[in-house]
């Protein structure tokens, strides 16, 4: 009690923070109960939690048996997987390459420029993508100049994933490499010197020193990434997709957005969202466990 009084200001400071988290994160978690109810517009949120009948797994069953289920799940997983395959290693490679540069100003320039796209709003990025892939856009101009057939990229389901992942690499590669560069900077230079003494070449140093030193960072980030596997950012999807490309572009988050926010299928989409969160959480736990076992690195 004395300690409490002594540090009352600290508790006073913590109060709004905890209230914030409770109100804006934990109350919605209670709202997940809507997934097991039939939401009606008659009541508000609270009313719906208490007044409406419990319907069990009805909405989950509806989702699993809907046409959309297979499509959005496949799309989500594939987009994530491609992201992990292509956009996850890219910053690592960039960081390694940057680290090998001897000319300081060049290194700085490359870094600054590759950071830049990260700061551009997704809306603008999407605008640029739409512009570049349009029939008169840069890419089609090049295709045209080479004598190829112009393609309406954003109208063709076949190209959506490529566009999505490639633009993600383009936008984030520089920024994501910072954390690896920082980790590289923290590597003890004695190790390199010792390796040189032992006759190690450049390649040897990368493989035997830099990469192993980066491994904890890589693993932590990979775990986080896997934990977010089913969370494809909804913004970019809804900015770039359209009914013609739902086939490959519609992911869980965009589906939830469309059905929930736009079509007010509240309970149904809550169920879909809950499914998504649970799978994500399970993936995270698994990845963490696996990582702990194999590389002794883990989040907790």
């Amino acid at each position: 009690m004395r300690a409490l009084r002594k540090h009352k200001y600290v508790y006073f400071m913590m109060l709004p923070v905890m209230v914030y988290f409770i109100v804006f994160y934990y109350v919605p978690m209670a709202g997940l109960a809507l997934a097991f109810k039939d939401y009606t517009l008659k009541y508000g949120l609270i009313g719906n939690l208490f007044e409406t009948p419990f319907v069990g797994f009805k909405h989950f069953e509806a989702f699993f048996s809907s046409v959309a289920f297979k499509q959005v799940l496949t799309n989500t997983i594939l987009l994530s997987l491609y992201g992990i395959i292509f956009s996850f290693p890219a910053p690592i490679i960039l960081a390694l390459l940057l680290n090998e540069l001897r000319v300081k100003w060049f290194k700085n320039t490359v870094q600054s420029i590759t950071y830049m796209p990260h700061f551009i709003s997704l809306v603008v990025i999407s605008g640029i993508i739409i512009d570049l892939t349009s029939l008169n856009g840069l890419i089609n101009t090049i295709i045209g100049a080479l004598g190829g057939q112009k393609i309406t990229f954003l109208l063709e389901p076949a190209y959506f994933r490529t566009i999505f992942v490639a633009s993600e690499v383009w936008q984030q590669v520089g920024w994501s490499s910072i954390i690896y560069l920082a980790a590289i900077a923290g590597i003890d230079s004695d190790m390199y010197e010792a390796a040189v003494m032992d006759g190690a070449g450049r390649w040897r140093k990368i493989v035997s020193i830099t990469l192993p030193s980066l491994l904890p960072t890589i693993m932590v980030l990979l775990i986080l990434r896997i934990g977010q596997m089913l969370n494809i950012g909804v913004e970019k999807i809804i900015l770039l997709y359209q009914p013609m490309t739902y086939e490959t572009a519609d992911v869980i988050s965009s589906y939830v957005f469309r059905q929930g926010i736009l079509n007010l299928q509240i309970s149904y989409t809550t169920a879909v969202g809950l499914f998504n969160s649970v799978i994500n959480f399970a993936l995270l736990v698994c990845a963490n466990r696996l990582s702990k076992k194999m590389t002794q690195n883990s989040l907790w």
């Binding site: 600290v10 913590m14 914030y20 804006f24 809507l34 390459l97 001897r102 349009s134 008169n136 013609m244």
Partner: protein, 952 residues
């Protein structure tokens, strides 16, 4: 390290630097390109064939335009406010949290930590969050954009970790000096933590600056329409597994149509479950469900399907009468008496007219309709061979281009011009995509016939000549087709055919005989396999051309074929003239005759030619016909003809509404509904499913359309189908169609792009248009199609009420050929239209007006609503300007793209017809209708009125 570098090192460094340089370029150039494009003249960018390095025709107009939009300015102001306020709140909250959590004496700090970290990995998800925030009042206000995002757990942890590195001794000494925790935080911790703070501030600011979803969710909330939907179901009917049959079609060259007639029928049945919804207005609850749909259960014969009855054998009165009885019993409302391949009774003979009379009398006694079909087989106009035999001027003519050698008989041609030129095969090859004509002309010069004989070598001789069809074509019983651009043909045709019918059955005109069908008209259907080089022609064209445009077409013939200077203008003028001639020298004359004699003129044009302006003809038909025939099959190199046809059907139907406003009222129900709605709504219908063969022996069984008559085993059940069609037809004849959008058909763009050497070019415009139309239908926007030339004449009647009321958006596609900027063309006459209403542009502004360059400027005033290319922009804009009248979603969340909706305003409310066009998908729908009142579901399958219930 610097001392000695091995070769490998040098190679590695070089590769590394080159690679990273390329990366920098790849990062920068797209941004640079967008910047350069924004500073350039739009049309120039579109025309540019390579990369941009400097702006093309520097201009700042795009920015001026953007900032003219008040939303841009207010958007920026809001963004700046959110970044300022939001980031301040972010920092305050994060600092407090991070400081508190970094204090080791904080009781329960591990629990607090867990509570915070857990939110990083698990959340309630979008929807519960949305509901919570909204119920707390964070909706549609500024706080909604800021407060719910006050802390980012990840950034909080970063800052906390940093605070942990600051030695406790600092805090202790400050405490001793009497500082409280706030002082410590802001006086000691913050200055020490500045680097970390800077990073976190940057993160927050960037997040706030880039936010998009928050705005979308918390501001662009949907109108909360109560759900008054009725889930429509689609049952899967039994599928008749039948082998596909191929039908070879005579006449049209190597045309091959695949059809599976049983599938068609099965599909129709499948579709039919979709309900018609009748919404009755508030004031009308008392009389619920009575008056407006009196005859829905069993509509009279005028709403029933009318068959194309093929007379194709030796006709016998008794058999004809028997077949009429069959039709009547199985629910058909009438028939067209259609002479067809295999006919043995002489066409237009006494015997023929005896049969016609018999059938008209039989129809009369049964209350059915007997329509005239005005030709022996098809296309119409040659009266079984009588007309072409009247003389050379009556016979079909074409303008031909021949290179070096003339493939036609000298007697059939009349030389117009001869040129010599150098051919250059060049990069242009890609432009043509057709190697055989992949060259460009240079040094083109006119020469005489004698010179043409002398000169050859590497120069090409181009002969432009008029070709007249000789009297040798077996397709036309040894005669030829006729010159429909010559009014004498129409007059002779009417005298030989229509007048004869008048003598025989004139008494029933307007009663049992409602009208006359004219089929597959064409001015460009060359059966000699050299269609590529041909254009429509008649002898009078050169003089008409000079009179109308003031210059000589004969000097510009190469422009019609080759991409020479000024070709767009010449082509537009030429095709415009041809289309007008076609209408005025055939369709209009026929129309006037029918008008005088109490008949309705109907029919359609032969499809497949982008340079035929079908809609102009509809102006002169009392009952505008359905699609141009063959529009689907002709381009059947690609599959999915059904869809194309469906759109063409709509094209026809809508024109009628459009043209006729202020003129004659659209015809009052009647058979046109049969032709245009009942069956084609089921999309496989068109003409194909409607032909009833009189006889099916011999070669007749291979006649093109699938036969649906008594020869079929299921004929006895046909009434089910016919009743369904009649009910739909009846319902859709009630009231007036509700539609808000006028789509202008960009015929001029097709004209300008068309060259017989590359016939697909003009078709691009049509394809784009189809895409737009399909998209509109999928988005549930019903529309009218407008023809520029008709609007130019009747525009004043149209006024500002194209959509019939205040909710009017007219929508134009100026750059129909956006992927080839050379083809941007538009008619100046439409500017006038543009000022009257709000036009929505999509894509680039037109590069040309009336075939002359410089259009972009002229349209600048209209560019307020300019949209970037891409249909989703169009749809989004449309939604914001004109919320859809009805919302249909699949209950399982599908896009419901195959669901079309047709809304009509009837006396007592609204009628909604909802139909699934998908051939493979079933759908369960949630339908939201904005009006209040009583809802009645009508089942077209059994005519039942269904239950009615109130809904709000």
């Amino acid at each position: 390290m610097v001392a000695k570098r091995s070769l490998g090192d040098i190679v590695f460094d070089t590769v590394n630097i080159v690679f990273l340089t390329l990366l920098v370029v790849a990062t920068l150039y797209p941004c640079l390109y967008v910047l350069l494009a924004s500073l350039s003249e739009p049309a120039e960018v579109a025309r540019a064939q390579g990369l941009l390095f400097i702006p093309k025709k520097l201009q700042l107009g795009s920015y001026a335009l953007a900032f003219d939009n008040p939303n841009i300015i207010s958007g920026y102001i809001n963004t700046i406010v959110y970044v300022g306020l939001g980031t301040a709140l972010n920092l305050l909250m994060t600092l407090m949290g991070a400081y508190g959590l970094s204090r080791k004496y904080l009781y329960g700090r591990n629990l607090f930590m867990f509570v915070i970290v857990f939110t990083m990995f698990f959340s309630g998800g979008l929807i519960p969050m949305y509901l919570t925030y909204k119920s707390l009042g964070f909706y549609d206000n500024m706080a909604a954009m800021i407060v719910p995002y006050a802390i980012n757990a990840f950034y909080l942890i970063i800052l906390r970790t940093f605070f942990l590195t600051i030695p406790d001794s600092l805090e202790e000494s400050a405490k001793i000096d009497g500082a409280n925790d706030f002082t410590i935080l802001f006086r000691i911790m913050v200055p020490l933590a500045l680097p970390a703070m800077a990073v976190v501030t940057l993160y927050y600011a960037v997040d706030n600056w880039n936010t998009y979803l928050r705005g979308v969710i918390f501001f662009a909330g949907p109108r909360l329409v109560s759900d008054s939907g009725h889930p429509a179901r689609d049952t899967d009917s039994k599928r008749h597994e039948l082998a596909e049959r191929r039908h070879h079609v005579g006449g049209g060259g190597k045309r091959e149509v695949r059809h599976d007639r049983h599938r068609d029928l099965a599909d129709i049945v499948r579709v039919s479950v979709f309900a018609a919804l009748l919404r009755e207005g508030r004031h009308d609850r008392r009389r619920e469900g009575l008056r407006p749909m009196d005859d829905f259960k069993s509509p009279s014969s005028r709403y029933r399907p009318v068959a194309f009855w093929s007379w194709n054998d030796k006709l016998e009165a008794a058999e004809l009468v028997r077949q009429i009885r069959e039709m009547d019993e199985q629910g058909w409302g009438g028939f067209f008496m259609h002479a067809r391949a295999g006919l043995e009774t002489p066409y237009l003979s006494e015997e023929w007219f005896d049969c016609v009379e018999t059938c008209v009398n039989e129809a009369k006694s049964r209350g059915m309709q007997a329509w005239i079909y005005d030709e022996d087989t098809w296309p119409s106009g040659w009266a079984g061979g009588l007309i072409p035999r009247l003389g050379e001027e009556y016979r079909e003519k074409h303008l031909f281009l021949a290179e070096n050698e003339i493939p036609h008989h000298p007697d059939d041609i009349r030389m117009l011009k001869i040129y010599k030129a150098n051919r250059r095969y060049a990069a242009e090859a890609a432009y043509y995509r057709d190697r055989s004509s992949a060259y460009r002309l240079e040094n083109i010069a006119e020469i005489t016939q004698e010179e043409a004989i002398r000169e050859h070598g590497d120069e090409v001789i181009l002969y432009f000549y008029q070709w007249t069809a000789p009297l040798t074509n077996p397709r036309y019983r040894g005669a030829s087709y006729v010159d429909l651009l010559n009014p004498k043909v129409a007059e002779a045709f009417i005298a030989s055919t229509h007048e004869r019918y008048k003598e025989a059955i004139g008494a029933e005109f307007g009663a049992t005989v409602p009208g006359s069908f004219t089929d597959d008209l064409t001015v460009l259907w060359n059966i000699w396999g050299r269609k590529k080089q041909a254009l429509p022609w008649t002898t009078s064209i050169p003089e008409r051309f000079i009179a109308r445009y003031g210059y000589d077409l004969l000097d510009c013939l190469p422009q019609l074929y080759f991409p020479l200077e000024g070709c767009e203008r010449v082509r537009i003028h030429f095709h415009d003239l041809v289309n007008d001639l076609f209408v005025e020298s055939y369709t209009k004359i026929l129309h006037e005759w029918c008008e005088r004699n109490g008949l309705k003129s109907t029919g359609h044009l032969m499809g497949g030619d982008p340079i035929m302006s079908y809609m102009r003809h509809f102006e002169y038909m009392q009952v505008p016909g359905d699609r141009p025939s063959g529009a689907g099959e002709r381009s059947a190199a690609r599959p999915a003809p059904a869809r194309q046809r469906r759109l063409s059907i709509r094209q026809g139907r809508r024109t009628l509404r459009n043209v006729r406003r202020g003129r004659a009222k659209p015809d009052d129900g009647g058979p046109e509904m049969d032709l245009q709605l009942a069956v084609p709504e089921q999309r496989h219908g068109a003409d194909a499913t409607l032909v009833l063969l009189f006889a099916s022996g011999g070669s007749r069984k291979r006649d093109h359309p699938p036969n649906l008559f008594y020869q079929q085993p299921w004929w006895g059940d046909n009434r089910l189908m016919a009743d369904y069609q009649a009910r739909v037809s009846y319902a859709l004849s009630q009231g007036v169609r509700v539609k808000d959008v006028l789509v202008l058909h960009v015929q001029d763009s097709a004209f300008a792009a068309h060259t017989p050497l590359r016939p697909e070019a003009g078709g691009l415009a049509a394809k784009k248009l189809e895409k737009v139309l399909r998209r509109l239908l999928e988005a549930r926007y019903d529309f009218d199609l407008g023809d520029e030339s008709i609007l130019a004449r009747h525009g004043s009647v149209e006024g500002g009420r194209a959509g019939g009321g205040a909710r009017t958006v007219s929508l134009r596609r100026h750059s129909a050929c956006a992927d080839d900027p050379r083809e941007h063309v538009d008619a100046a006459g439409c500017l006038h239209e543009g000022r009257r209403r709000r036009d929505l542009f999509q894509g680039e502004p037109p590069a040309m007006v009336d075939g002359l360059p410089g259009g972009g400027r002229a349209y600048e005033a209209l560019l307020q609503g300019a949209l970037p290319a891409g249909l989703h922009h169009l749809e989004a804009l449309l939604r914001s300007k004109l919320p859809p009248r009805i919302r249909i979603e699949e209950t399982n969340g599908g896009a419901a793209a195959s669901i079309y909706c047709h809304q009509r305003r009837v006396d007592s409310g609204y009628l909604y017809f909802i139909i699934n066009h998908g051939r493979t998908n079933a759908a369960e729908l949630l339908v939201r209708i904005p009006e209040q009142g009583r809802l009645r579901v009508m089942n077209a399958e059994n005519g039942g009125g269904g239950g009615s219930r109130r809904c709000a």
